[in-house]
Symmetry: C2
Subunit: 399 residues, 2 copies
Amino acid sequence: MNVVPMNATVARAALSRLFEPSDTVGLGLVSLVGPVDGLRIVRRDIDAGGEMRQRLRELLGMTGGRRDPLDEGLARWAPRLRDLAPERDLTTLARLGGRLLIPECEEWPEALNDLQEAAPLCLWVRGAHEIPRVNRMVSIVGSRDSTSYGSSVTTDLASGLSARGFSVVSGGAYGIDAQAHRAALASAPGDESPPTVGVLACGVDRYYPAGNEELLRTIVDRGLLISEVPPGSSPTRWRFLQRNRLIAALSAVTVVVEARWRSGALNTAHHAAGLGRPVGAVPGSVYSANSAGCHRLLRDGTAVCVADAADVAELAGPLGSEPAGDQAREADVRSREQDGLTIPDLLLFDALPVRSSTTVDKLSVVAGLATRDVITGLARLELAGLAMRTGEGWRRGKS
Amino acid sequence: MNVVPMNATVARAALSRLFEPSDTVGLGLVSLVGPVDGLRIVRRDIDAGGEMRQRLRELLGMTGGRRDPLDEGLARWAPRLRDLAPERDLTTLARLGGRLLIPECEEWPEALNDLQEAAPLCLWVRGAHEIPRVNRMVSIVGSRDSTSYGSSVTTDLASGLSARGFSVVSGGAYGIDAQAHRAALASAPGDESPPTVGVLACGVDRYYPAGNEELLRTIVDRGLLISEVPPGSSPTRWRFLQRNRLIAALSAVTVVVEARWRSGALNTAHHAAGLGRPVGAVPGSVYSANSAGCHRLLRDGTAVCVADAADVAELAGPLGSEPAGDQAREADVRSREQDGLTIPDLLLFDALPVRSSTTVDKLSVVAGLATRDVITGLARLELAGLAMRTGEGWRRGKS
């Protein structure tokens, strides 16, 4: 699948172990000199040179000050150089049936480039599927301590979105994440189905959290497991926060099902909003602490209210667009046939008695309409089945 | 209380029986010639004249066509002329302890003028209080068939808003409306308390719906009952729809607690939004048909998500502004003392073991930080109680 020179792959694999995610100095260096020379500079095989250092300072928007960002970076990366063994990491990945994606290769998700200077160096990937295009990916995220309400909504959303051809992206965590993956797996049994995508804060060889090991193994078998940190890496707070930007960037829409007032899911939502991607938040009881974060997103305008898969698909754009409408809405709409009436006809309809009959003169007083308008209006209402003639005059229709 | 000539009051009382609410032709006529001459024209005591008819056409934005709006109006109003008895209506109102407010008098709510050409002719009012200023009024509206969730939220909102000095405005209907009035009455026992305001689609002498008679009588005693239609008038669909514009116009904020996908409460919300007044919608379960209308308002951007009285007060502006914060939020915020850390310190904190100890060198590999940054970072974390020195090195602090 990779037709690019091996050294770019190896270099990015190496750098992804040296740099923490979103290390702006490291990523800036790579953007200036490429991964191979970047690695040689980090290893001090070659010197960066004064001109390159100056360009890096400019890239990082550092106009003054005496500190040199590259020297700080070199000091930060040095302690990890000793154990660096990218070929070993790539062998480990290959043994797991995985592959390394780098920006130079065809399968690289274009959508990640929207992260600009924070685009990941590479993606460590397990799973047979190709990564779907961004307009086919929707992330569903939320609290680890989800409620039964949150689980139900997650199941409905993930099933409905899978059925509409969307990949469900999430973080493989307990709670909403796990439920989203599970429902996507349950509703997409075939190989042709959109794969669910787990984006991890640790290496793709680690099953974290331990209680989700079986789920994560199933995702490897039938979906995709992705990380920007190499095999063996442990999940840290920083990596969780940065992982969230990948979830947001990979997906056309990010939906938060349940989140507390402070929650990692809000971080994902803000990443998505920062990328200009639509964010959906599922409303819930105002008495549920697990919905407070969703309501916060709705209130501050970060998210749009979504109640079902149709709402989410609509946010995702053309692919999933279809007329929204659950049963409650349709029933509600059907029951109001008088809604299409003009104002005078509505006044007249209101004035018509349900049980007894009345005259045109009385109708004109009650409705506040001229006699001739009552007569023409009654004809229209009669046609619509809303008025009927009786021996004594007029009454409501029986429809 | 009224220092204006009696004939303006009598004329407006009469016209409010002849014209249905928001009769644009009738209201246009009054805006051109005033209520007294308007009534004389309607009664055909005087002729409107060609120039006035032309000005009326222009006011109504009718540039062409052969139909004359005034002639149509005269035909519409004629059937009701026979039984016109404004002095009798005013006597009825006075006997009930009520008063008629007209735009010419001091107590007239300025806020109604925001309705422009749809401002009511007059207000038939019962209750001892003056109508509060718009920035002290919040309307709470919603489904007639409210759920227990909707009732609870309504109670909390109305109580919280009353306690903050707001008048709770609603429509006196079953469900959310009644609950809003009840909670406002319960939390505002004193004469100094903000009165709850019921805005009716029928005359203020009628207790509609019948099941709310006792509540409506209590509102007369301790709050305000308002209508733009004269005593004896029955509620019709048109009058309900138009009544909604009065609720919206009288209030600084309109809150929809529960509403189906199609609901009169949405009509009130759209009136408020059209007036540029903030609209709040209370979120709820996506499985509740009674919240579907609220979610619709949130989704289409008509309403802002409100979860408690503090959120609503904030929308109402300066008077009620105060830092939002329920217990769940505060507890959630307190629990994250590491949130304020810089990125390097967060990386370092993550790298610190909880149970065992580690060395500065190991920390620099795990955290991906230069040795000197680990040393200075540990000093900061130690000060914050997040790191502690042990015999063997460093570990997480016990705080």
